[in-house]
């Protein structure tokens, strides 16, 4: 059961998919599993839907693990899923959020890459798609979105880690989310979770021009980071992608923001400073716990500020 599932170690794709089935079976009134597409290698792409009723209510999207090697993100996503079911009906904030909104959680956003990290190359980051005319494999799914695609801050070389792909949405893992978000039409918050570097970022990544909601997004980021740091003292930096780290065109949250999803954020989770994304398993639960506080802060704000 999900009560005996070990959240403090890293799991394979099969184990996580089995966990999702268990969570659905144990919470049929709250959790359902949607298949939003298939990967390049034919694996199903699943999203957990947490809902107390209604169809296409305002919703919050959370995804983890678009960069497959960042294992603490998929592990945290698993923990978040269980936490939502535990807190619903117990925690006033989560109960209120789910009374008004749905939450979509994609725990393994890049299943091919994730499976590859377990079977062949622990350090694999990209998708596993092939590019015609190149012997190099994979596209960086965080440079493949239709937001300033192909501009500086992504690579046109298939052999690099930040290869953007031949065209926007060339990756089925990206296109599946794009189709889902467009079809849903009522997603109000979108949070994409990466590791590492301890950052909470908002648009834009392709330009240093402030986004029109910068003041509000910045203030909310500050509150979220404060909540996160309150648990273990982990220090986070926040700001726009461009000004805080580097120019990154074709990234996820620039696209979601361009679709009118005002509350678009991306996290870079905990980094002890010694391991990068190879975070020891002992840090999974502290990382998930502290991140959860920031997520609740953002979700609560989204609920309280309809637009």
């Amino acid at each position: 059961s999900t009560n005996t599932f070990n959240y403090a170690i890293y799991h394979t794709l099969d184990e996580i998919y089995e966990f999702m089935d268990m969570l659905v079976a144990e919470n049929p009134q709250l959790v359902s599993k949607l298949q939003i597409g298939n990967t390049y290698e034919g694996r199903p792409i699943y999203v957990l839907k947490f809902s107390t009723g209604g169809n296409k209510r305002p919703a919050i999207w959370i995804d983890t693990g678009i960069h497959s090697r960042e294992w603490v993100t998929q592990a945290s996503g698993t923990w978040f899923a269980k936490k939502i079911t535990e807190d619903y009906g117990q925690d006033p904030k989560i109960t209120a959020i789910l009374s008004n909104m749905d939450i979509f959680l994609e725990i393994v956003t890049n299943p091919d890459g994730f499976a590859f990290t377990h079977s062949t190359n622990r350090l694999w980051r990209k998708t596993r798609s092939r590019t015609a005319g190149s012997s190099c494999i994979g596209v960086d799914p965080n440079r493949n979105w239709d937001a300033a695609f192909g501009m500086p801050g992504a690579s046109g070389n298939p052999c690099t880690e930040t290869y953007r792909g031949k065209y926007a949405n060339s990756e089925t893992e990206v296109k599946s989310i794009v189709d889902f978000v467009k079809d849903h039409g009522n997603i109000k918050g979108f949070i994409s979770i990466h590791s590492y570097s301890q950052l909470l970022l908002y648009p834009y990544g392709y330009t240093n021009t402030p986004n029109p909601d910068q003041q509000e997004l910045d203030q909310l980021a500050k509150e979220a980071v404060t909540a996160l740091s309150s648990l273990h003292g982990t220090k986070y930096t926040y700001g726009s992608i461009y000004t805080t780290i580097y120019q990154a065109s074709g990234n996820t949250i620039d696209w979601t923001y361009s679709q009118g999803i005002k509350y678009s954020y991306t996290f870079e989770l905990r980094d002890t400073g010694r391991y990068g994304f190879l975070l020891p398993a002992s840090q999974i639960i502290p990382t998930a716990q502290e991140t959860w506080l920031a997520l609740v802060t953002i979700m609560d704000h989204v609920k309280n500020h309809p637009y």
Binding site: N3, T4, F5, N6, Y7, A8, I9, Y10, S119, T120, N121, R122, L123, N157, C159, T160, E161, T162, S197, I245, Y246, G273, R274, Y275, G276, F277, L278, P280, A281
Partner: protein, 96 residues
């Protein structure tokens, strides 16, 4: 499983824009097969790069020649991966 014995992860600190540009030059040298975990951004922010064993000497010489400071963040990537595997086996099946 791909082996990463002898691969190191260097944490580079570029002091100014010129040094950032120098590190970007490294990024373009495909034969070194560098894997930038955290890419070159602005001066002062850390750059983390995994360097395969055969390229370590060349990269360090390059950095030292341009007076770019760095430290070894991960001494041997494979030993860290082995530890991770051992942990996974040891804790498999243990309830939270």
């Amino acid at each position: 499983l791909e082996n990463f014995v002898g691969h190191q992860v260097l944490r580079i600190s570029a002091a100014d824009e010129a040094q950032v540009q120098k590190v970007k030059e490294l990024e373009d040298l495909e034969h070194l097969q560098l894997d930038f975990w955290r890419g070159p951004a602005q001066p002062g922010s850390s750059i983390d790069v995994r360097v395969p064993f055969p390229s370590i000497q060349a990269v360090k010489v390059f950095l030292e020649a341009h007076a770019i400071s760095y430290s070894i963040m991960i001494e041997d990537v494979q030993s860290l991966l082995d530890e991770e595997q051992e942990q996974m086996f040891a804790f498999q099946g243990r309830a939270r």
